[in-house]
């Protein structure tokens, strides 16, 4: 069965703050409801913890690190799920239940089976 990644975009928040306890509970609820198709996932620390890695001049070249995400956008990538579903319709049905779908947005992308 194909696997889809559901990328969670919301405000650039710190999920570990007590203020998000209720929101996190909603994600747990989603996790239980859609347990059947969830193959993995994680909540991410805010983009202030991100480090962008680039290597110049090909493999083994100079490693360039920069603080923060590659691009600053209004909504940040703050988590993801890996879903194994029959087809896109099923994946979209589950994605629509992820709290970010109404507190931000969820981008659903198919994964390439041969490369995973």
């Amino acid at each position: 069965m194909p696997k889809y990644i559901a990328l969670i975009y919301t405000a650039d928040v710190d999920w570990t703050e007590p203020a998000f306890a209720e929101e996190n509970a909603k994600y747990l609820e989603f996790g239980q409801e859609s347990a059947e198709v969830i193959r993995g996932g994680a909540a991410l620390y805010p983009t202030s913890t991100a480090t962008t890695v680039r290597v110049t001049g090909g493999k083994g070249g100079e490693v360039l690190l920069s603080d923060g995400p590659y691009a600053e956008t209004k909504e940040a990538l703050t988590g993801f799920y890996l879903l194994e579903c029959e087809n896109l319709d099923e994946a979209l049905r589950h994605a629509a239940k992820i709290p970010a779908a109404w507190n931000g947005f969820v981008e659903v992308r198919p994964t390439i089976p041969a490369l995973t």
Binding site: C85, E86, N87, L88, D89, P110
Partner: protein
């Protein structure tokens, strides 16, 4: 019909559409199915004129397309062997003579795939023309006023998304069906309006587009006969299409509804639309349906012997219902125009001037110009008309303004 070659083409186009839907189910791959059906049609064109049309052309085409699909699969390297073998066996095992209810389901599945909301609207329109109507890429490109290369790319991208993202070939569940059916209706209606959007270039292809949209509308009502949204869609298209010969004068200029020679309307088509509108309204009485309401408005016009007989009260009332269902300001613009016809010119102008978001819309300024002219405010009308003129490249629309507001100016 005297040209036997054309009859064969028509037969192949009609059957080809059905066979494509079935092959798509069997192969699970639209691109592969299209290639296989195209090759089957080519061999039919070579064989049939010599050997005669077979007694069951559809079964002949399905068999030929199945063989071709298996050949194509065998040659394809990128697939996993197991999946490939399973598909090949399934194709070979499938009967050539498909029962009508399966043909029906195959068509429905493909319609819902081509109009899937995960595809961009313009991709849905292009796919519908190519896959559901069986137009060539060149024909689709001409009809939608883009280059053949652009259209080929757009279609390839859409097919890849279907395949890679796993957009399924299936009829949506009962719970999703109403929304998905509305999405299909919207796509077909876009296709229809594209047929009327421009009068200048490619008039012939664009009229063919409207014909195709009507054909799809009939197919949808045939496949799902109890649905108000589909009846309303078909009704709306039929009534508009019934005026096709009266919409332009001999010079190719736009003739407004009020000035059209109603004896040139296709009465039979209009009345078929009126009956469908009544049925659509009856079936959606408890929950108004957008296309049922647009059909009701169109029916009010169709039922008027001449423009002065029009029941403008009914039309304004239907626009009120429509405005509740569709927040688009164009609906309120049309409502205002209907009020003006009821003699409320000044109120209509106030309604129009209160609208926001239509500043780049030709008919917004054209309607203002018309209302200002009727109120004797010629200077303001001329300004509005020139705003409208700047917004259109259609010569017919420019001449319309010229005739009504810029005489000698």
């Amino acid at each position: 019909m005297t040209d036997p070659k054309e009859t064969l083409d028509e037969l192949l186009r009609r059957e080809g559409r059905l066979v494509l839907a079935t092959l798509t189910r069997l192969t699970g791959d639209l691109t592969l199915a299209e290639d296989a059906v195209q090759d089957a049609s080519i061999s039919a064109l070579e064989t049939w004129p010599r050997a005669g049309i077979p007694p069951n052309p559809r079964a002949w085409l399905i068999l030929a397309a199945k063989r071709r699909a298996v050949d194509l699969l065998r040659r394809e390297r990128s697939r996993w062997v197991k999946e490939k073998e399973a598909t090949m066996v399934a194709i070979q095992m499938a009967p050539d003579d498909i029962p009508p209810d399966v043909v029906r389901d195959d068509q429905l599945r493909l319609i819902f795939t081509c109009c899937h909301p995960a595809l961009a609207q313009e991709a849905q329109v292009a796919l519908s023309l190519r896959v559901l109507c069986g137009l060539t890429i060149a024909e689709v490109a001409r009809a939608l006023l883009v280059s053949e290369q652009t259209m080929a790319k757009r279609l390839t991208r859409a097919r890849s998304k279907i395949a890679d993202a796993g957009i399924p070939y299936r009829v949506p569940d009962a719970e999703e069906l109403p929304d998905r059916m509305s999405a299909v209706a919207t796509t077909v209606y876009l296709l229809f309006t594209a047929g009327y959007a421009s009068q200048s270039s490619g008039a012939h292809e664009r009229r063919a587009l409207a014909d195709e949209a009507v054909r799809l509308g009939r197919l949808l009502v045939g496949l799902m006969p109890d649905e108000a949204v589909l009846m309303g869609l078909l009704s709306t298209m039929l009534i508009h299409h019934s005026r096709r010969d009266a919409r332009l004068d001999s010079a190719g200029d736009i003739v407004l509804l009020a000035d059209q020679d109603r004896s040139r309307w296709d009465r039979a088509m209009a009345m078929e639309g009126v009956d469908l509108a009544a049925e659509a309204i009856r079936r959606s009485a408890d929950r108004p349906e957008r296309f049922a309401v647009t059909a009701a408005i169109a029916a009010c016009h169709a039922l008027a012997e001449d423009a002065s007989d029009t029941d403008w009260d009914a039309i304004v009332a239907w626009y009120d219902v429509l405005a509740q269902l569709d927040p688009n300001p164009i609906v309120r613009l049309n409502r205002a125009a209907a009020r003006a016809e009821r003699g409320e010119t000044l109120q209509a102008l106030e309604d129009v001037e209160a609208l926001r978001g239509l500043d780049d819309y030709f008919w917004f300024h054209a309607t203002r110009a018309e209302l200002l002219t009727r109120l004797g405010r010629a200077d303001e009308a001329a300004v509005a008309a020139s705003r409208a003129k700047a917004l259109t490249e259609s010569e017919a629309q420019q001449r319309l303004l010229q005739r009504r507001h810029l005489e000698g100016g």
